[in-house]
């Protein structure tokens, strides 16, 4: 593991609560972990609280929800007491987030190039020509063959894989210390998925960032990350190094691994998860 010195991110007893008509719903119930310059995977099913954990770190929790934590610190900043304007300065520059579907997360009425330039100009004092140069360089870094052309295209004019690369470019152009990727490849075709992951992997290790990779796909996450947190019903039920996935102890983790159909295994019927109420305690 490549953790060195003080952790980049410290999360202690994070709770995210949503008020509903039928009372409060705790989406995240006491999550704690710390992150250095490493790749951390957070895995869970829909409703496990994995995305809300990422959003709380980003500061993107809806305003009607309540966030509490014993500690939520990024670098030297206390994210709990930070003012909104400071948080905005941090977001995009030092902490960035890649979302699932480029169709919905890129601005449809702005060219790809302008969106990248906008990110740069928000956070740094750069001239327009320099910003353009850096945007083009970034598009090249995500292996877009003809950056000049893609710079002037609108999001609907590019494929999903290309859109996702553009989003990676936009998120990395300011050189963040922490990148949160929430299902970055789930909307892409399997063959494109690997290309995009390869690009992400290369950039993250070259630039020495911390990465939180949120996904429902346990196998994918473990092949990509150093360490995996498994979440169930708002809690971390198991934490383990990716290499030890086969030795997972928690029945939920084992169940998740087991229920996937794979080529060459002849299991009819497939084993299904037998959810125990005590997992959610």
């Amino acid at each position: 593991m490549r953790t060195s010195g003080a952790p980049l991110l410290t999360v202690e007893d994070l709770r995210v609560t949503f008020p509903t008509r039928t009372g409060e719903v705790q989406a995240v119930r006491g999550v704690s972990f710390s992150l250095g310059k490493e790749r951390l995977g957070i895995v869970g099913e829909s409703g496990s609280g994995k995305s809300q954990t990422g959003r709380a770190i980003m500061g993107l929790t809806p305003s009607h929800a309540k966030i509490t934590a014993r500690k939520l610190a990024f670098g030297g900043h206390d994210l709990l007491t930070m003012r909104k304007a400071e948080r905005r300065g941090l977001r995009g520059r030092q902490v960035a987030m890649i979302l699932q579907d480029p169709k919905y997360s890129l601005n449809p009425v702005m060219t790809i190039g302008r969106q990248i330039v906008e990110t740069l100009k928000t956070h740094e004092k750069v001239s327009t020509s320099e910003a353009k140069q850096r945007a083009l360089a970034m598009l090249e870094a995500v292996q877009i063959r003809d950056p000049q052309r893609v710079f002037d295209l609108y999001p609907h004019e590019v494929s999903g894989g290309m859109g996702q690369r553009a989003m990676i470019a936009m998120m990395l152009v300011c050189g963040p210390d922490l990148l949160i990727a929430d299902e970055p490849t789930s909307a892409l075709d399997v063959t494109v998925q690997l290309e995009v992951l390869g690009i992400l992997d290369k950039l993250v290790s070259e630039r020495g960032m911390g990465l939180i990779f949120i996904s429902h796909d346990l196998r994918l996450v473990s092949s990509f990350c150093d360490r995996v947190l498994v979440m169930y019903a708002g809690r971390i039920v198991e934490e383990l190094p990716s290499a030890d996935l086969a030795n997972a102890q928690h029945p939920y983790t084992r169940g998740l691994l087991n229920c996937l159909p794979t080529i060459g295994s002849d299991r009819h019927p497939l084993p299904v998860l037998d959810r125990k109420p005590e997992w959610a305690l």
Binding site: V190, R219, P261, S265, P269, L270, V272, L273
Partner: protein
């Protein structure tokens, strides 16, 4: 082997774009047949053209010995062929209760014993009578897909067209739905044509599969061939490598 479904030189065009380009396919009676490919490969279009949701300009379609063309399908066709869609949210009427959803096909096809049929259909997909008067938004994704399967099975079809039936579901729910489909197939001796981008799912569910790319069938191989890597198309290999997950280096 008599074929349940036979497609010859099928062509589907959207304006200038050839979504299907001379596709040939034979699916035997009681067989489970898979179709894999990326988005845009034409795999969903193929199912839609069979179901009459997309019109095909050229070629022939024969289902259980009866020929069909264009988009016109008679009632007999829908008694034989039913379809389950990918997104269980989008494929159930949001303002109809489960009861109403299951009743509609029965009324259209003139069944009179609706009461026992609805009860049995719900039982068969593992949902009790308690679900009968719920709306689809009161169900989870997996439960919704069970209703969609119940709706397809209630007419006792011979052939089920499955368009990515589990790709919107969590892995653990996917296993439950796949088991349910296999059970239904065994009990009713159904023929499956299943589309998926997931080679793992296809090799688990199907005996043979067609690999599609750019509107054409690249190759048709037995599912066992994936395991032994006995296939010829480079594209199949690419899909197989991609399904094995990320590798560094």
């Amino acid at each position: 082997m008599t074929s349940a479904l036979s497609i010859r030189d099928m062509v589907v065009t959207y304006d200038e774009f050839k979504a299907l380009n001379r596709v040939n396919l034979d699916v035997g009676q009681g067989e489970s047949f898979g179709i894999v490919g990326e988005s845009g490969s034409g795999k969903s279009t193929l199912l839609r053209a069979v179901a009459g949701l997309a019109s095909f300009e050229e070629g022939t379609l024969t289902v259980n010995g009866r020929a069909y063309s264009g988009r016109s399908r008679d009632k007999q066709f829908y008694r034989t062929v039913q379809m389950v869609f990918q997104d269980p949210y989008g494929s159930l009427h949001p303002r109809q209760t489960v009861d109403r959803l299951l009743l509609e096909p029965l009324v259209i096809h003139g069944f009179t014993d609706v009461e026992p049929r609805i009860t049995r259909a719900l039982d068969e997909v593992g949902l009790g009578a308690g679900f009968r008067f719920r709306y689809s938004h009161q169900l989870s994704g997996g439960q919704r897909q069970r209703i969609a399967i119940a709706r397809a099975l209630i007419l006792e079809p011979k052939i089920l067209l499955l368009d990515e039936p589990t790709s919107a579901l969590d892995a653990s729910i996917q296993a439950e739905i796949l088991n349910l489909l296999e059970q239904a197939r065994r009990d009713r001796n159904l023929t499956f044509v299943m589309v998926s981008h997931d080679l793992g799912v296809i090799s688990h569910m199907c005996e043979r599969l067609a690999v599609m790319k750019g509107g054409e069938v690249v190759e048709t191989v037995p599912a066992k061939a994936l395991e032994k890597r006995e296939f010829s198309a480079d594209y199949t290999r690419q899909l197989l490598v991609a399904s094995e997950g990320f590798r560094r280096g």
